[in-house]
């Protein structure tokens, strides 16, 4: 890619989004310093606790994203205007949520390798997360089914509400399922650690940083989706012109 295209700021940028992005980057650097260098090692987990400072925040934000998707979807369905912007926000939020959830799964299994000695453990939280990852990949596939923008909005809003309903159901049933085989999880650390002040602060700070990143990504993505929709509508104008030019057969 040439220099001229990258040096131009993207058309989705505003002063506010730029500042939000800078805060996110600065926060990430501070978080890395805190998490990787300044905090102490955990008495049980040792240094593997350092994965927690990215793992826990991404998990939290992924769930936040899915709830936000559901809220926007409900707003689209029951709002008087059936706002397409709410639909695009729902879509943007779900995309970012899927990315964060993917990150959560990867860091979770890396942490598991250190703490449990295995990449995968049928831990209720990990299992639920894997299910939701697939569920929201399905949601994104539904968004891509085509049709008019309003069809897409209505269809995906309903699927989003089904998906958010699945979060507690899947989690609850997986918890019950695991309670039968408790030996596995009781003897091994499950990720809850006793934290000193700085460790706890770093974790909370991490949640704040990733929430900022989430907001920044969704803001931009929402605007890109608005551009995509706008281009589609402008394409209709061109197609209408072409259709009008069709010759009347004699």
């Amino acid at each position: 890619m040439s220099n001229t295209t990258t040096s131009v700021p993207p058309p989705t940028r505003t002063a506010a989004s730029r500042n939000l992005g800078l805060i996110a980057i600065f926060g990430s650097i501070v978080l890395a310093l805190l998490g990787l260098f300044f905090t102490a090692e955990d008495v049980d987990q040792g240094s593997s606790v350092r994965i927690m400072y990215v793992h826990v925040p991404t998990a939290w934000v992924a769930y936040l994203a899915f709830v936000f998707t559901a809220v926007c979807s409900a707003g689209h369905l029951w709002g008087r205007k059936h706002s397409l912007n709410l639909d695009r926000l729902a879509g943007a939020s779900a995309e970012v949520g899927v990315i964060f959830m993917g990150v959560t799964l990867v860091t979770g299994s890396l942490w598991g390798r250190l703490s449990w000695g295995t990449y995968w453990q049928w831990d209720p939280r990990l299992t639920t997360t894997a299910f939701l990852f697939v569920t929201y990949v399905g949601y994104l596939a539904v968004r891509g089914l085509g049709g008019t923008q309003h069809q897409r909005a209505k269809r995906s809003a309903i699927v989003a509400l089904f998906a958010v309903l699945e979060i507690p159901l899947v989690h609850f049933s997986v918890l019950l399922w695991r309670s039968l085989h408790q030996e596995a999880t009781v003897l091994r650390p499950n990720g809850d650690v006793k934290m000193d002040g700085l460790m706890l602060f770093s974790l909370v700070f991490g949640v704040a940083v990733f929430t900022t990143i989430f907001a920044w990504l969704v803001l931009h993505r929402n605007r890109v989706l608005a551009l995509v929709d706008a281009v589609e509508l402008r394409g209709i104008d061109a197609a209408l012109e072409a259709r009008r030019a069709e010759e009347v057969p004699s």
């Binding site: 058309p11 040792g46 240094s47």
Partner: protein, 44 residues
Amino acid sequence: MKHADFIVISWVLSFAPIALYAWRNARRARRLDPFVEKSDKPWT
């Protein structure tokens, strides 16, 4: 692999997809820009 490698890989794998997503998003926006008009960008 050493303990520390896992931790570094975790951090890299956390931020890399996010950065990639943001970059691709910005590139998409730049490519779409010539086809829209100012009225399509109410945030500007």
